[in-house]
Amino acid sequence: MTTSLHPGGPLVMLDDLQLTLGSAAGPVNILRGISLEIGAGEAVSVVGPSGSGKSTLMMVLGGLERPSSGKVRIDGVDLGDLDEDSLARLRRARIGIVFQSFHLLPTMTALENVAIPLELDRRVDAFTAAAEALATVGLDHRRMHYPSQLSGGEQQRVAIARAFILGPKLLLADEPTGNLDGATGSLVIDCLFDQHARHGTTLVLVTHDPAIAERCDRQIRLMDGRIVEDRRMARGRIAGIGRTG
């Protein structure tokens, strides 16, 4: 369904990305020349102090913010060429997003939340597929619960099931455990890496937790809108933590 235009090439390509936003105090340079390639299937952590531009980078990768200059290619598609509705279609088909604050729709059950991307994609088997996906994150018994009836960890696992439901090429997770305590957080991270492995999805994960960053193949450090460090992790996949499948 989502065949890459450049098989074997990098899934994400950023070329001298700049983002300047106007504010009351004048223009602010939030991203200042970011160039980066991420291969298909890679798990990359993004670390850096608060305000360094991590979330902004995620927004650009998700086609939710247009850079002031520079190029963004996802799966061979130049996002600069797309209008907003095409960007939405690209997100639906190829990009999954997990937020720090879950962002489940409060008026829908867990099952309905997971089914949203399928319904947007006009799948007839939306609810069957959504139920199966809920089972893979261990929430089969919570299908009919509303977000307010779920714990934070459970809500985030529903959000993960939702983000992976259409088998995206790229998964963006912005501090997915930021609102969770340690034990619940590691359960959620296990869940995330499990899904990453199942779907072979490229993972870009913003985190403050060195232990979580350790589980990725690669770590990028942002500072003041610039990449100040980009390194392969020694243990990464070898440790195999979180690989259950």
Partner: protein, 455 residues
């Protein structure tokens, strides 16, 4: 959905107003048409001012069908002793009157009996107001011209009361013979002679009227057929109807502002949901369509309720109008005014909600990453502006096209556009001033200003 309660209220109110006014006006028009023969007193009427028909005219009339003669004039009625007097509208009728409808009297009796000669005096049936004015009762006698007449009854219903043009005094009904007794019929007397006809079967009243005009081009007679009976009442109805329709349309437009605000608030309340759906791959187009369908479904439900209320309005209005109109209003559903009201309602809904609905495109989804939701300063898409302009033109055109007096309707449309323009300008000036003022130190004032100028 409860945020849209205001929406429902505004729409139901405005559409009900228009549907109700249209339905009542249609009911009265129907009643006028149905009662037209009664109102006119015949299939056709020939009126001669200040002279009666000559023999050849009379022959033409009698050959056309059955004829009833009525003479009307203004006169003075006095008590027998002459101490009290009252201006009256005197109406003398022959035995054939009325050709259509019934004259109802109190106490109940036949009209010809009531007006006939008994002893010395012919009878009269009078408007109850005369009894009060002259201090008399049924059975007493009055003097009109040289004749003494006995009041036999008061008039409860006179089927052709509305046709005589303006009526300045209370009615007194007498017989043609009674009129002769008064001695008021002299050359030059201001008497109107009405010749009412029940046309032979199969004769079209309008065609007959034309043939009568052609046969006596010099007669100076005014001919009306029942299809055009009571033009003054219809004219009055058209004017009042138009005025009330414009009032209804104003209510709907004011309601439209409420509709727009309600939709805007509803969308604002859904910001996080909309942003989330965008992140999941919902296009602006899909979100716009989704909320438009929701708004339209609500609008259609509101309009349906309003149409039922409006259609029932004649039932409520009939007893109120019974005293004011010489007509009986029968209940019927009038589809034309209801369809018009529904169209006005739908157009107004779209005109006022497309703009706020386009706000879904301004919600910037990426802000979810920072747990805020911003709005981009993006302009309203040109397609929305163009559609709204077309709908406004459609609404204005419909209002003018369906108006009785199109000049008045044009002024109304111009006035409404000017009013909305002024409101927008005043709003813009207020925002500009608020921005210039900056941030005052008093917290209440600061908050008030901050809520005023949002992006």
């Amino acid at each position: 959905m409860h945020g849209l309660g205001v929406f429902l209220g505004c729409l139901v109110l405005g559409v009900t107003a228009i549907a109700a006014i249209g339905s009542v006006a249609a009911s009265v028009t129907t009643a006028i048409k149905e009662d037209a023969r009664d109102l006119l007193g015949g299939d056709a009427e020939v009126r001669l001012a200040y002279r009666s028909a000559n023999s050849s005219e009379r022959e033409f009339l009698t050959q056309s069908g059955s004829l009833a003669e009525v003479a009307t004039m203004r006169a003075m009625a006095r008590t027998e002793d002459g101490t009290r007097r009252s201006l009256i509208e005197l109406k003398a009728v022959d035995a054939a009157y009325p050709l259509y409808g019934e004259v109802e009297l109190s106490p109940p009796q036949r009209l010809d009996t009531a007006l006939s000669r008994r002893g010395q005096a012919y009878g009269a049936a009078v408007d109850p107001a005369i009894l009060a004015r002259l201090g008399l009762a049924v059975g007493d006698r009055i003097k009109i011209g040289e004749a003494i007449l006995q009041i036999r009854a008061t008039i409860v219903r006179e089927p052709d009361a509305a046709t005589g043009g303006l009526i300045f005094g209370p009615r007194v009904l007498i017989s043609a013979e009674g009129l002769g007794e008064t001695g008021l019929i002299r050359p030059g007397a201001l008497v109107n002679h009405h010749y009412r006809l029940r046309l032979s079967p199969g004769v079209d009243p309008a065609a007959w009227a034309n043939s009568a005009r052609a046969a006596f081009p010099e007669a100076g007679w005014q001919i009306r057929s029942f299809s055009e009976a009571s033009p003054s009442l219809q004219r009055l109805l058209d004017r009042v109807g138009q005025f009330l329709s414009l009032v209804g349309l104003t209510a709907l437009l004011v309601g439209g502002v409420g509709v727009g605000n309600a939709v805007g608030n509803y969308i604002a309340g859904k910001t996080v949901t909309i942003a989330t759906l965008k992140c999941l791959g919902a296009s602006n187009r899909l979100l716009f369509a989704t909320y438009l369908i929701e708004v339209l479904a609500l609008a259609i439900a509101s309009i349906a309720v309003a149409l039922v209320l409006g259609a029932l309005a004649p039932v409520v209005a009939a007893p109120l109008l019974r005293g004011a109109l010489p007509l009986a209003i029968r209940f019927a559903i009038h589809p034309a005014p209801l369809a018009l009201a529904a169209t006005f309602g739908l157009l107004t809904t779209l005109i006022f909600s497309l703009w706020p609905l386009a706000g879904v495109g301004r919600i910037s989804a990426g802000a979810l990453f920072r747990d805020t939701v911003d709005r981009t300063g993006r302009r309203i898409p040109p397609a929305i502006l163009a559609t709204t302009a077309v709908l406004v033109a459609g609404l204005a055109g419909l209002a003018v096209a369906t108006a009785h007096d199109q000049k008045v309707a044009l002024w109304f449309v111009g006035g409404a556009l000017a009013a909305f323009g002024l409101f927008r300008m005043a709003g813009a000036v207020l925002l500009w001033v608020a921005r210039r003022l900056g941030r005052p130190r008093r917290p209440a004032l600061r908050l008030a200003l901050a809520t005023l100028h949002r992006p």
